[in-house]
């Protein structure tokens, strides 16, 4: 790390204030804007950080160019985790950290962080919030949607907190950032995988028709699977698709297509 880093104009870098970080948190509510399959979240990711970057580097066009360009690389993670990473990036920029290193941290983390973020926000917060709201809403009470909206306002603005967390993590020595993120991704992996394991039986529903029997005898097909291991079919389907992705590099659209064809076929055969 350079002692007393400067921008290309030779001016010393400025420090970000707490309100700059708060603003980053609010900006990043649009982190996923202009999403496309090409670069996914790169546009929003870059845009959100521009005000903070300008604060640090002043109006040096040269620096801004570099910054915008290297950030426009492919990027996709869970939005709250994106905010956290944005905080880390700005903190490292502020210290004049080598951009190779910043890129390394970002590219190494967005995948694993997506894992934890999705486990938390998509797969734990959403079903619990929805569960509570639905139980309130069942009889038509507006308390249901109001609670839902309320919780998600908090979840939305929690980005401010994630921005701060990321900023303070990023301010640590680079080495410590490494250790911290290693532990984080380790823990995240365990939590995420456990939750996904539990979601398989409740999210994926696939079962043979109740009345479907083997040609001979009256035992139903589904009962045999249940005898083997309840929910074995959802488990198998998830692993099958996982394998298609991982080993066969099939793309998502193709998989979705196959699923739909499979559904139609099963319906036609009257098997499911």
């Amino acid at each position: 790390m350079a002692s007393n880093p400067t921008n290309k104009k030779g001016e010393p870098l400025q420090k970000l204030s707490k309100s700059d970080i708060t603003r980053l948190g609010i900006n990043s509510l649009t982190e996923q804007i202009a999403f496309s399959f090409e670069r996914m979240q790169a546009p929003g990711w870059t845009m959100n950080m521009i005000p903070g970057f300008k604060k640090i580097y002043g109006d040096s066009k040269e620096d801004l160019k570099e910054f915008m360009t290297y950030n426009m690389e492919f990027m996709n993670t869970e939005p709250h985790m994106a905010t956290l990473l944005q905080g880390m990036v700005l903190a490292m920029e502020e210290k004049g950290t080598d951009r190779k290193l910043i890129q390394g941290v970002r590219n190494g983390l967005f995948g694993p962080m997506a894992g934890i973020g999705d486990s938390i926000f998509w797969f734990t917060v959403l079903p619990i919030t929805a569960g509570i709201a639905c139980s309130l809403a069942k009889s038509g009470s507006i308390l249901g949607p109001l609670v839902f909206i309320g919780i998600y306002l908090v979840v939305g603005f929690s980005r401010i907190w994630f921005a701060r967390l990321g900023y303070s993590l990023g301010s640590k020595a680079v080495e410590k950032v490494g250790t911290a993120t290693r532990y984080l991704t380790g823990a995240a992996g365990i939590l995420g995988t456990t939750v996904i394991g539990a979601l398989i039986p409740s999210y994926v529903s696939i079962a043979f028709q109740k009345k479907l029997v083997f040609g001979v005898g009256s035992t139903t097909v589904q009962s045999v699977f249940d005898q083997l291991l309840p929910n074995v079919l959802p488990l198998a389907v998830v692993f099958l698709i996982y394998w298609l992705f991982k080993k066969k590099h099939v793309n998502t659209i193709a998989v979705i297509g196959c699923v739909i064809l499979f559904g139609l076929l099963m319906s036609l055969l009257n098997w499911m």
């Binding site: 496309s36 399959f37 949607p145 995240a188 456990t194 996904i196 979601l199 692993f239 559904g263 076929l265």
Partner: protein, 262 residues
Amino acid sequence: MQLTLVQGFLLFIVGTICQFDQQTEAFYWFRPMVAAFFTGIILGNVELGVTCGAVTELAYLGMTNVGGTVPPDPLFAGIMTVVLAYTTGQSAETALGLSYPFALLAQGIGILFKTVYSFVPHKLDKYAAEADVKHFNGLIWGVTIFEAVFCGFVIFLCSYALQAPIQAFVNSFPTWVTHGLEVAGGILPAVGLAMLLLTTLKPETYPYLFIGFVMATFLKMPNVLPVAIIGTSLAAIDYMYQKRFDEQKAEAIDDGGDSDGI
């Protein structure tokens, strides 16, 4: 019951706002629970909106866009379930079934946009190379708002303008097709989960997948929170061991170094 033009227009506005939220994932107003609530207000039957929202929300819980995928659209499902329950007088459950084709339609639109918009980053690269923040931001906001308005307009069409022909088209589906799509819908969440496994599943985390699976299969839990609690507990236990491993190593190195003097 028929929708009035004003209601159709208000749905256009709500649809646009919620679709914008769906693109940014800022406040989760694109979830059926919220979208259906707003629709209920517009149609003057809040209770219907809330009830349909609850039913649809639960059915679409697994429909996430994890990993950038596009599932059958929860926003369209939320709005159209209320609209169809309102216009046909059917129950929330039946309306949920009827709204499924609209969710598929919107899924198609979503995929289209995210594919076509692949030209956007290339333009943005150019602006970035010139540090042209104004055009950079302008393009980003422009395309996003365009998609939102477009979807809002489709909602207007489906709910008001083209009500009759669209419904006719939908009704022309034979039962086996509708049912087949439902079967597929039950399986679709597996795509999101498999996608997620691509990032979280490693030799070290495999065991935990099965622990979660067995818990959910054999314990009666109201939701996934207890599993998340156990997952966090197991992660914490592992974290402590990993930390001790590292400390050990550090100490060993030190001690190894020190031991020279002995």
